[in-house]
């Protein structure tokens, strides 16, 4: 751990970055290359869809207008909010054990939200209109409007916070971190409300979604923090210092708690949709638990996303890094599918289902097209790319000691 007390000059910084990039191995550049190719393929596919018409490339349709790209966007902003909230325990609220994860987490919260914006730009049909009309024709009753606006503010605070962290300016960093957390919670609960306040969609409707989204973000934050910190040290071929190990140990404990919270939430969500067989929710819960969607739900969302990682985290005692890496990777895959389930299942019941008409007797189906998958992959490529470059440019996000 470096112990700088004088601020380095710009020349020293540039030389440092250049040296780190020069000494990086072939493996590093191969990974950067792959990530870059994925991002470019994704951007190319997205632009092609935008120009030639989304309907020619995406499998979403009138009754299921939101597909894997919305799910991917939700996944990334969930991750970003979670990174912000979990890391704020240390550098905003002063819990020492969480301090070492601050820099990398704040950096990754910016990387993940940019990845989310990257994907949503190709999901929304006319994103350039959004830039204009969101500003000059705001609808204050719209959760989408609040979410977009608040995430914009959130991103600005996170940028400012990261810069202050780099400059070792503690007080403004705390102010920005706290403001970012507030904006993040407001933005993210509004994203939950985008789903939760739709009166005609019983599976989503109610206060559950905004609350679930915040708890779920914190759970995701733990997984992402654990995974990227372990990967960061592997990438830089450095031994993890004891204070960082302690940090991941407490993050693992918080992660265990939050997995239990989400398992608890999910249990009651399912029971509420089953008991009394409520119209609009029961057929969805049925397909989720025992029907057409059951394998995806049980294998990815429950086993890979929560139950498996819960066992591994407990067995790791927060110290067995290999076990924690496997658990967090599994969790991230599971959480991605969890977001997909949330977005798709809410739409899977036709609005005219209870009318009993021939056109809408069954559940709706949707499978993403290869183009949608490529664009979704671009989000992951972008996070990977920013992570890799960030490790070299910001020297493993080392935290200065005061």
């Amino acid at each position: 751990m470096a112990h700088h007390h004088s601020t380095p000059t710009l020349n020293e910084l540039v030389t440092g970055v250049a040296n780190r990039l020069k000494t990086a191995g072939t493996g590093f550049y191969l990974m950067v290359f792959i990530a870059l190719v994925v991002v470019l393929a994704s951007a190319g596919t997205g632009l092609m869809a935008m120009i030639k018409g989304h309907e020619n490339y995406y499998n979403v349709y009138r009754e299921v207008p939101w597909g894997v790209l919305i799910a991917t966007y939700v996944f990334f902003v969930v991750s970003s909010t979670g990174l912000c909230l979990i890391s704020s325990i240390g550098h905003v609220f002063g819990v020492q054990d969480f301090m070492p994860i601050a820099k990398r987490s704040v950096f990754l919260s910016i990387a993940t939200i940019l990845s989310g914006f990257f994907v949503i730009a190709f999901e929304i049909k006319l994103p350039w209109r959004m830039a204009i009309w969101n500003v000059i024709s705001p609808n204050l009753t719209s959760n989408i409007w609040w979410m977009g606006t608040l995430y914009g503010i959130y991103l600005a605070f996170m940028f400012a916070e990261y810069i202050f962290l780099l400059m070792n300016k503690h007080t403004p960093a705390v102010v920005c971190g706290f403001s970012g957390s507030v904006a993040g919670i407001a933005a993210h609960s509004n994203l939950g409300a985008v789903f939760g306040l739709l009166m005609g969609r019983t599976y989503w409707q109610g206060p559950y979604m905004p609350i679930y989204f915040i708890a779920s973000a914190m759970m995701t934050g733990c997984a992402v923090i654990i995974m990227f910190h372990i990967l960061g040290y592997k990438l830089n071929r450095e031994e993890m210092p004891s204070d960082m190990q302690r940090s991941l140990e407490v993050t693992t404990k918080v992660g265990i708690l939050l997995i239990c919270v989400i398992l608890f939430f999910t249990t009651w969500k399912l029971l509420a949709g089953a008991a009394g067989q409520p119209d609009g929710a029961y057929p969805v819960v049925h397909s989720e638990v025992v029907g057409h969607h059951a394998f995806i739900f049980w294998f990815f969302e429950i086993l890979m996303g929560m139950a498996g990682p819960l066992v591994l985290f407990v067995l790791s005692r927060g110290r067995n890094l290999s076990m924690m890496l496997i658990a967090s990777c599994s969790m991230i895959i599971g959480i991605f599918v969890m977001r997909y389930n949330l977005v798709f299942l809410g739409q899977s019941l036709p609005v005219y289902y209870d009318l009993g008409v021939n056109e809408f007797k069954g559940m709706l189906h949707y499978a993403p097209s290869v183009y949608e998958w490529i664009i979704a992959a671009g989000g992951f490529g972008m996070t990977a790319l920013l992570f890799l470059i960030g490790e070299k440019v910001f020297d493993g996000h080392k935290v200065e000691h005061h």
């Binding site: 018409g53 989304h54 309907e55 349709y61 009138r62 009754e63 207008p65 939101w66 929304i124 049909k125 006319l126 994103p127 209109r129 959004m130 009309w133 969101n134 024709s137 705001p138 609808n139 009753t141 719209s142 959760n143 989408i144 409007w145 977009g148 985008v194 306040l197 739709l198 009166m199 005609g200 969609r201 119209d279 739409q347 036709p350 609005v351 005219y352 209870d354 009318l355 009993g356 008409v357 021939n358 056109e359 809408f360």
Partner: protein, 250 residues
């Protein structure tokens, strides 16, 4: 063994000896068949004469003219002239999933005398629309004069949240217009040009779609939705959007 009943030789028992309970049971069976107990999806005024009126669904008629449509559902034969007229009048693209109005088909295997019924659907021009609440840019809005839910297509960002919010599947993304499209009671194509009805109502040969103004008591729509002889209901009242498209039959 089949037990045949020879109807020709049966005596008419008359109705004098039918108990009130039997009358009620029979009526209940009829009501069940016509869908009043169909999972709470439709609400009928028949069981609460003089209590539930169209004005209860719409709460009040704040617009002038307060445009509305009543579907005389029993008259629909699914000829789809309404759909064709709508598509032509409003330049609806000829692609799958693009329509402003359509006719749904329901099997009524239990019903006496009929095997299916047809349910025309379109935008319900709700008094409390979800779509306008969720739109981030006010690209869709409730017209302050007529109550019609309109689109300002240049503001539409294509997030499709209005499609998610609509409990009536009344919206689709129109690739030609580059905006979400929906029924606007032919506002731009007919009403604003002095026509008195919509293309679909005009084209209907069976007088299914009755278009009118709920703010006028002598209007045909007002009279149909306020009579108490026949049931009047709306689709998906539980969504709470206070629709202005009503259904009746019988």
């Amino acid at each position: 063994m089949n037990k045949h009943i020879d109807f020709d030789k049966l005596q008419n028992e008359g109705v004098e000896n039918v108990s009130n309970q039997e009358r009620r049971d029979f009526l209940k069976m009829g009501l069940a068949i016509t869908g009043i107990f169909a999972g709470g999806t439709i609400f009928s005024a028949i069981s609460t004469f003089n209590q539930a009126q169209a004005s209860d669904f719409a709460k009040k008629y704040p617009y002038n003219p307060h445009y509305s449509m009543v579907m005389q559902q029993h008259r629909c034969i699914d000829c789809e002239r309404c759909v064709v007229a709508c598509n032509e009048t409003n330049h609806v693209p000829k692609v799958h999933g693009a329509y402003r109005t359509t006719i749904l088909e329901k099997e009524t295997a239990d019903a006496l005398g009929g095997k299916r019924e047809f349910i025309p659907v379109l935008c319900n021009q709700c008094n409390l629309p979800q779509c306008t609440r969720v739109c981030p840019t006010k690209a869709t809005y409730k017209d302050q004069t007529t109550g019609i839910v309109l689109m300002n297509i240049k503001k539409c960002i294509g997030c499709l949240t209005c499609q998610e919010g609509c409990p009536y599947n009344a919206r689709y993304f129109n690739e030609e217009k580059k905006a979400v499209d929906k029924c606007n009671f032919c506002w731009d194509t007919r009403l604003s040009k002095g026509e008195k009805d919509t293309a679909c109502a005009h084209a209907c040969p069976a007088d299914v779609r009755v278009f009118g103004d709920l703010s006028k008591q002598d209007d045909r729509v007002f009279k149909i939705v306020h009579q108490i002889e026949r049931p009047v209901w709306v689709l998906r009242p539980e969504a709470g959007t206070r629709p202005n498209v009503f259904y009746t039959k019988g």
